[in-house]
């Protein structure tokens, strides 16, 4: 399965609310989250990809039923976007929570597995951070 352009744009917008610019010293800022999530989507088995697709759809239109506003997710204030994601993550419905968790996982996989993040955290062989050195001593 492949993302449409609209889905890619929406995925980017939702993921940027999850992983805002400036996170981890700004090391995720240059990542095109929508494009990377789209790439991962195209490699994922359909039953899992479909949850992402539904998740993006539900989040995008959730202001209609959660905030009772005639707006989409992209058209509301950041604080409202965050509160929507928070409410979905704590939904009494297990599948809604799972969907929300998968969107967070997608955002983290897309934004946080780059070399800049690893270097910032001192992870793996990209150069040891001060933290890593201290913990080993």
């Amino acid at each position: 399965m492949k993302f449409s352009r609209t889905e890619q744009r929406r995925a980017d917008c939702i993921s940027r609310v999850i992983l805002p610019k400036g996170a981890l010293g700004g090391t995720t800022d240059d990542c095109d989250l929508g494009a990377e999530i789209g790439r991962q989507f195209s490699l994922t088995p359909w039953w899992s990809a479909i949850i992402t697709r539904i998740g993006i759809f539900v989040v995008w239109y959730s202001p209609l039923f959660l905030l009772r506003k005639l707006r989409t997710f992209g058209g509301i204030a950041v604080a409202d976007q965050q509160s929507i994601l928070e409410r979905l993550a704590h939904s009494p419905n297990y599948w809604v929570r799972e969907m929300s968790m998968i969107l967070k996982m997608n955002a983290c996989n897309a934004g946080m597995s780059g070399e800049a993040v690893m270097r910032y955290l001192g992870a793996y062989d990209f150069g040891q951070s001060v933290q890593l050195k201290r913990s080993r001593s």
């Binding site: 609310v17 999850i18 805002p20 400036g22 996170a23 981890l24 991962q40 490699l43 994922t44 088995p45 039953w47 899992s48 950041v78 604080a79 965050q82 994601l85 928070e86 993550a89 704590h90 297990y94 929570r97 799972e98 968790m101 967070k104 996982m105 955002a107 983290c108 996989n109 897309a110 934004g111 946080m112 597995s113 993040v117 690893m118 955290l121 001192g122 992870a123 793996y124 062989d125 933290q131 890593l132 201290r134 913990s135």
Partner: protein, 504 residues
């Protein structure tokens, strides 16, 4: 074709051998080495690719996609979806596992003897012999200080103060550099997966290992197994072509707890056997994060370095440190916006411990046209969750005893973070799977061994009841779950059964 590793997509497949082994993980690797050493010609057919360490990446999504069955998206379904992680690569799940080594507990073996009639086949002295060989050849030793992490030291301290038995984890590795990436496959060839150890030894004794060789049916003449058919996968001139291979002495299925029973079923073997594909068991696990004031760097060190095993007999719970890639750790943190950003900032100060449960639940696996070919049904019991929440509570208590300033329970309905005076919140944790982030990595039971041909799939020598020359040698033959990490017992049982087969 010569002994060694071959890509079936490039070269096609050898057409006959004394023994054909389907699957190259813990069970298949041990069988291959034992039988090749005994002088038999051995053909190992593995569905996944052969991946040298130089080709391995560090990004979790790409690693899951390259190494795991269904890109790591396989799950068992009940009230909740429980991810069931298995590798699909030469080396099987030993290629991605944490290299933790445990012998089968005596109590478990005694139960198998008493309740499943396995005293004759699973002799303690023969198993001890196999363990000793594996431990020597796979360089098993406790995690050394050079790759122990802050999290390991905290677990040791917390367990000591809580009065729970603990130790540095024993692992099969040589010169582990503590790069914390076992899940991505070992970049340093330190972890002794079957790929770099047992299969390599097997090839030195003449075995041929074919990657991209997916077996689809077992061939029989009368009731006797005589070979297999399948399709070549991957990319190359032979990809997509069917193959057929013949075995003079035996066909050994070591395709894992999910694929072995389904391969038998697709081959119309054991269809009237009530045990085939049933009694699916697991050690479901979840994780608990402790926040400390000093850095833990939960992506570094031995992937799993320390364990508290003293609750195994009472709660059926084992607590282990676990280091995971940053993006995996981050995706489990609570909150959005400022709350989440401050969590991310504290990521280096988190120690992650897993709580794995010897679950009493049983599920089943069946072939399916959907979901990548296999469907798994599994529902943990409320008794399991009673023990799970007690296990989480003890782990949280240990975190606080070790100096954590807060703990992140990661359970729906509980606060995102708790302090030491809030341990009682675990008493009201949910009693079903929808409240937890559970995954299942240790699987058992779908071709269980036993003497009763109606209620077991293989006999005490791992031969399929009623099908001469057909054996199953992987974790599916375990009649119960074990409460400890299974790779070592799988390899020992497979070694023992293969020795008998070779000398028969």
């Amino acid at each position: 074709m010569s002994a060694g590793f071959h890509d079936a997509a490039e070269n096609g497949i050898a057409v006959d051998a004394d023994v054909i082994i389907v699957g190259s993980g813990a069970g298949g690797g041990a069988a291959a080495r034992t039988l090749a050493d005994a002088g038999l010609s051995v053909l190992v057919l593995e569905e996944g690719p052969y991946l040298p360490s130089a080709s391995l990446g560090y990004k979790t999504f790409d690693s899951l996609h390259a190494l795991m069955r269904n890109g790591g998206q396989q799950a068992a379904f009940g009230k909740a979806a429980v991810p069931v992680v298995q590798a699909c690569v030469v080396g099987g799940t030993t290629f991605v596992n944490s290299a933790i080594i445990w012998r089968l507990p005596e109590k478990v073996l005694a139960k198998w003897h008493a309740e499943h009639g396995l005293a004759d086949g699973f002799r303690a002295n023969e198993l001890d012999d196999a363990y000793a060989l594996i431990e020597k050849d796979m360089f098993v030793r406790p995690v050394t200080d050079s790759v122990a992490t802050g999290s390991d030291r905290k677990l040791a301290l917390g367990a000591e103060r809580a009065g729970i038995e603990h130790r540095a984890i024993h692992r099969n590795e040589k010169d582990c550099k503590g790069s914390g990436r076992c899940l991505h496959g070992c970049h340093n060839d330190a972890k002794q997966s079957t790929t770099i150890n047992y299969l390599r030894r097997a090839t030195e004794s003449g075995a041929q290992v074919f990657s991209h060789a997916r077996v689809e049916r077992i061939l029989r003449e009368g009731s006797k197994a005589v070979g297999v058919t399948g399709t070549i996968r991957g990319k190359g001139p032979q990809a997509g072509k069917p193959f057929r291979a013949h075995a003079k002495r035996a066909v050994i299925i070591a395709a894992s707890v999910i694929q072995s029973p389904n391969l038998l079923r697709r081959s119309r073997i054991g269809l009237d056997n009530s045990a085939l594909g049933n009694h699916f068991m697991a050690h479901p696990g979840t994780s608990l994060v402790g926040l400390y004031s000093e850095p833990m760097n939960p992506w570094s060190g031995a992937s799993q370095g320390y364990e508290a095993y003293g609750l195994r007999d009472t709660l059926g719970v084992k607590i282990e440190t676990i280091n995971v890639p940053p993006e995996v750790a981050a995706s489990r943190l609570p909150g959005f916006g400022e709350k989440y950003l401050s969590m991310l900032d504290r990521l280096p100060y988190m120690a992650i411990w897993s709580v794995a449960l010897k679950s009493e639940a049983e599920g089943n696996v069946r072939p399916s046209w959907l979901l990548g070919g296999d469907i798994i049904r599994y529902e943990m019991t409320s008794g399991d969750f009673e023990r799970m929440r007690q296990g989480l509570k003890r782990a949280a208590e240990m975190h606080f005893l070790a100096g954590a300033t807060a703990v992140l329970p990661g359970v729906h309905g509980l606060p995102g973070t708790i302090t030491a005076d809030q341990l009682s919140v675990f008493d009201s944790a949910p009693l079903d799977g929808t409240g937890y982030g559970i995954i299942a990595t240790h699987l058992f039971g779908t071709c269980r061994a036993g003497t009763d041909p109606k209620h077991s799939v293989v006999d005490a020598h791992l031969q399929v009841h009623g099908t001469p020359n057909l054996y199953v040698m992987d974790a599916s033959v375990f009649p119960t779950n074990t409460g400890v990490n299974p790779q070592h017992s799988i390899m020992a049982i497979s070694t023992m059964a293969s020795r008998r087969l070779a000398s028969a």
